[in-house]
Symmetry: C2
Subunit: 114 residues, 2 copies
Amino acid sequence: MRTEIKLFKALSDTNRIRILKMLEVRPLCVCEITEILGLAPSTVSKHLSLLRDTELIGDIKEGRWVNYHLQAGADDERVQQLLNLLAEWLPEDKIIKSDQQKAGEVDRNILCAS
Amino acid sequence: MRTEIKLFKALSDTNRIRILKMLEVRPLCVCEITEILGLAPSTVSKHLSLLRDTELIGDIKEGRWVNYHLQAGADDERVQQLLNLLAEWLPEDKIIKSDQQKAGEVDRNILCAS
DNA sequence: ACTTCATTTCGTTATATGGCGAAATATACA
DNA sequence: TGTATATTTCGCCATATAACGAAATGAAGT
């Protein structure tokens, strides 16, 4: 039961839902997500590691950046089921739509180190 | 987004998951659930009112008892989707199976006021 | 090796959550 | 009306969680 609870807990936070919905657009690095959410980098990092623990997302290092992405073909079927649900949800949410638009536009080379 | 977070929060607790899985067997009153979970009645009541707030469950008064039941045909499609997922999950969980067996056996007339 | 900068880890703080017992409420029955 | 009992509400406590800033880590380029 532990796994199920961890999954639902991971999804019980507005900022983590925003992150997952952004990642539906494309993989993003920490500083891009940080910019969109307007939180401290350390806070975002903690959210991301919590999401990674559940296998809802995965990460790939690319130079000094770490790209986070939705775990499309997750081992655990429950992860996939929840990501599928989430993909159908919140299509009209103002914040989510704005986040997703920004996710499509942000450029880490301009954004970061500024 | 508020609704979605509330739903996931409601599902983020072991005892609330146990309650929902018990209610898959049949409607139960507070004292029956209390007996199976081994918690204080006030604690169980709080869990139930939280679940009711999300429309995952509903209640019907029957004399001095209040019967709680899964919200089979919930207005909100998301509620139904989550209940459907949960119905597929945890088929082999020891605690859940034990709870469900007890749910089938308990008799409020013997159980309560004892 | 040194610097830069993205990311993570750590320590702290404020709030949220889950638990209990006691008291309040509501319903049946004498 | 009064009693019994199921449930809820309230106040309290311990723990969990989300946020921050500062310090540590790791990879790129000088």
